[in-house]
Symmetry: C2
Amino acid sequence: MTNRIRHLLIGPPLPTQQLVHERLNKIRALASFSPDALSSIAYANQEIYLGLLVAGSAGLALAWPTALAIAGLLLLVALSYFQTIAGYPSGGGSYAVARENLGTLPGLVAAAALSMGYLLTAAVSLTAGVEALASAFPALWPYRVTVALLLLALITLLNLRGLRETGTLMAVPVYLFLFVYFSLLAYGLVRLWSEGVGSLAVVAPPPSEPLTVLLVLHTFSAGCTALTGIEAISNGIPAFHAPQVRNAQRTLVVMALLMALLFLGSVGLTQSLAVIAGPEETILSALARRLVGSGPGYLLIQLSTMLILTVAANTSFAGFPRLVALVARDGFLPRQLAGLGDRLVLANGILLLAIATGVLVVVFGGDTHALVPLFAVGVFLAFTLSQAGMVVHWRRQQGRGWFLKSTINGVGALATGLAVAVIGVSKFLEGAWITILVIPLLVVVFLQIRVHYREVARQLSLQGVALSNPTPAAPRVVIPISGVHRGIVDAIDYARSISGDVTAVYIELEPGSGERIREKWEAWWPHVPLVVLPSPYRSIVGPLLDYLDRTDEEHSDGQLATVVLPEFVPARWWHGLLHNQTAWLIKAALLYRRRHHGYQRAIVDVPFHLAR
Amino acid sequence: MTNRIRHLLIGPPLPTQQLVHERLNKIRALASFSPDALSSIAYANQEIYLGLLVAGSAGLALAWPTALAIAGLLLLVALSYFQTIAGYPSGGGSYAVARENLGTLPGLVAAAALSMGYLLTAAVSLTAGVEALASAFPALWPYRVTVALLLLALITLLNLRGLRETGTLMAVPVYLFLFVYFSLLAYGLVRLWSEGVGSLAVVAPPPSEPLTVLLVLHTFSAGCTALTGIEAISNGIPAFHAPQVRNAQRTLVVMALLMALLFLGSVGLTQSLAVIAGPEETILSALARRLVGSGPGYLLIQLSTMLILTVAANTSFAGFPRLVALVARDGFLPRQLAGLGDRLVLANGILLLAIATGVLVVVFGGDTHALVPLFAVGVFLAFTLSQAGMVVHWRRQQGRGWFLKSTINGVGALATGLAVAVIGVSKFLEGAWITILVIPLLVVVFLQIRVHYREVARQLSLQGVALSNPTPAAPRVVIPISGVHRGIVDAIDYARSISGDVTAVYIELEPGSGERIREKWEAWWPHVPLVVLPSPYRSIVGPLLDYLDRTDEEHSDGQLATVVLPEFVPARWWHGLLHNQTAWLIKAALLYRRRHHGYQRAIVDVPFHLAR
């Protein structure tokens, strides 16, 4: 039943040999790796606008310089990753680079920061996408959480099925987005040329806060989310056609230029046309509406924004499971996260991400602006560690031009490190504290998990273990019975097949019932002894455990008696509600009882299947 | 750990012999059985007020006649139960009376109706109690659901501990309530005499609905909730001192008179003083405030109202578990509901009631007025069936004066039956439909459960079963292993102790890993054969089941191989998250696999306890 539903939703299992690695040409590679990076302009624009709006028209006039600074940082970081591609042609994720060059601890910090980054990319992209849609259809505005959760469920399901055709499928929204936005920007320039620069002083609301350095830093740090996603290509080099490094580098250059153009273009136009957003609308939506009205053109723009943001959320569903699988393979996360599922996808990682994203969306009420402070810290910390790792990498290699390469990565690391500090301080109370708290917590969890696995491995070692070569003696057997009926026949037969020493035990919940049972018992199994145990506290498990302890001690061989449990198996799951789950309770009590003098107690289930 | 918390909250287990039956004198008996009945005036008053208010002052003028009609019905029903006490001195609950005299089906309908009644008594008493409190402290008004749930948790906990001192403990709120309210009514009469009758026309809001017959019927049926709880004494006769019947009857008369006086007194005063309630206040609170102001006297009145309503909710926690235990003993409900728990209380029934009540409180937003339509149907249906059962009872007995007795019960049945019809029709859309739907559903569930138990009993019968007298042959044993390590040593030893035919099975998730395992295996257990199974779909359970089926078929004896599972038991529960729950998955798959050619497969757990 559950299997049938599962097959319907996510498809039948796939054999391992179907696992193939796609190779992408540059056109499809750009589509595969850029959605997160390109779509960043949706929330980065919004953050700059909201950050400066509180300082009125004087604040909004600083949008363009802020955007220029961010674009400069973007190109710097792109240059740094350009080098990472050459240094790690096998795909140097921040975790691998930091762990290899800086050591385990920085590697784990990078892993924690990256995990948070993936998680927040998914959450922020989803909510920003829904906001783009709800700007066009204001009736959806109050239902943003619900819409985001529905989208999330859809993405999760598609990923559990395994998205085989990713490259091609993603190309549509990405190129649609590029086409629509560049057309919009071009048209905007024409309009600006014909209309002239607008006056912010006329349209902006009066300032509610003074224009301080801190406010600008605030805005800058929130706007830095424009850089998110720029590292994607450096993780995915093996997916490129040969020559892989050159193709990946060229794709990175194209992507970085597109990002910078889109970002500067949209911020610049918004400011020079003096666009102000309504209460339930994003600033990008306001810019589009100002230029093309509210007709089909506007709807196409909003739709393409939502689509690319959804695809961006989807990239987390590829990256996050792969990251946690790597970390799990190194023994820092539960092993279940490392195994391929039925459909050759990392199903547990996908589910983990889906649940965490859903929680974030609900807790933050589907509000992108509330999520951004958590976002930037993680992403920039991962940037910094990855680039610092590259500095060490070049120094160690001492190859041609290592000093220049090292310096470029060093400047990148410094710049993003500075950004981490700015974001961490200026956005601390608004949510950055959560990320700052969670990252070290995650690192502690990683380390604890490895301690556990190592300890288990030590306990599982066969070194020094002496095997008992002669055949061990047959065990004593105890069978708890609930009465004399058909359901215990097979269990008694089985017990007699494995041992000559079988005792049945009846626990007398109702005083006096023992005698009736004994009579019936002796009619059927006269040669098997029956022990009746009183139970003053009406518990079955307690008297049974006491009896086992007592008799185990009496037997000097030190072997613990085997417990054979006749277990009812109902024909339908809900029938289980109609029976005391006694066998289950006994099993749980026996299984979780700590080892006794170094011996283990075997527990035997003999099922009795009730017919339908 | 969980045990420690449990002992702290509900106390250590109690032995069966501590189960004693208290005997109550009339003073304490009245306190034990009357809270539900007496406290009914809180919501009945409110229902009459809210029902008539919509028709303005002309509507409110009908409060007194409506109350008179309800009081008449009350005395009629009390007379009928007066007789039931004589007819069923062992305590004739509606279920027992209806089942014995009318048959199984009417008995089950009564059981379903009573269950709903108990459930709604708990929910309505709680919410009405919280409303009384929140009338005095308006800051609590928005948090009524939370306060009600906290009270519910407290009552549940006390009942799980076992309320030994019920009689004495309950006497305080009951007699406080009687003292406070009769003082209030007496003072109200003095004020009425000195001030004269007030004019409703002056204070009532303009009518929003016309005053129709249906509206009056509506109000009458909602006001009938004043009768709830009147049957309590007839269920509890064994708790009285001898002569039991006479003492119980006298207590019933006193209780019915108190109920009628309180009800008529409060409705009458409210109307003649022309009291109108504010928006976040009950009408009883408004009456009290009108008479004594908002000082400490008023607070005492509200507090005593809340207390008696809480005690009334508590009476459901005695009655409901006893009812479901009776029904469960007859095989119509899961047996787990019939067993005494650790603390000699019917813990499962208490928990079931607590959960259901909590759900009702949350779903209906803690609003008494929304719950009442569900309430009255169930209660009156149980009244009707019980009295109809008594009619048959007297006819069958043909004792002295049977005709008169039969007629009195018949008139009671007719009157309450008529009330069921009125309530069912007039309140259908407002919620009565839920009860009308749930009662037959419950009856169907009851019957299905008995069908299941009878079928199980048939399958468990030993009739015609032939026992195999010679010792059965030792089983073949299959051990699935996850690798060659310390964790499987005990399992292999155990397998060898019960059988000479042991085969280990390794499922090769990673292609090629089988060879490494085989080498290590042969170094340690050269005499035990190892089978390596490929797993193209990366499943452990699938290939294992296939292998078992294949080898079981090859062995012509028809016996199924025993599966011995080496099972890791982690030292702390959360360590379980770090291991694949493979043993558990295999057990579940084997246990729930349908019987194979009539044979059962034994499953042996050999735990390997990891040290801390």
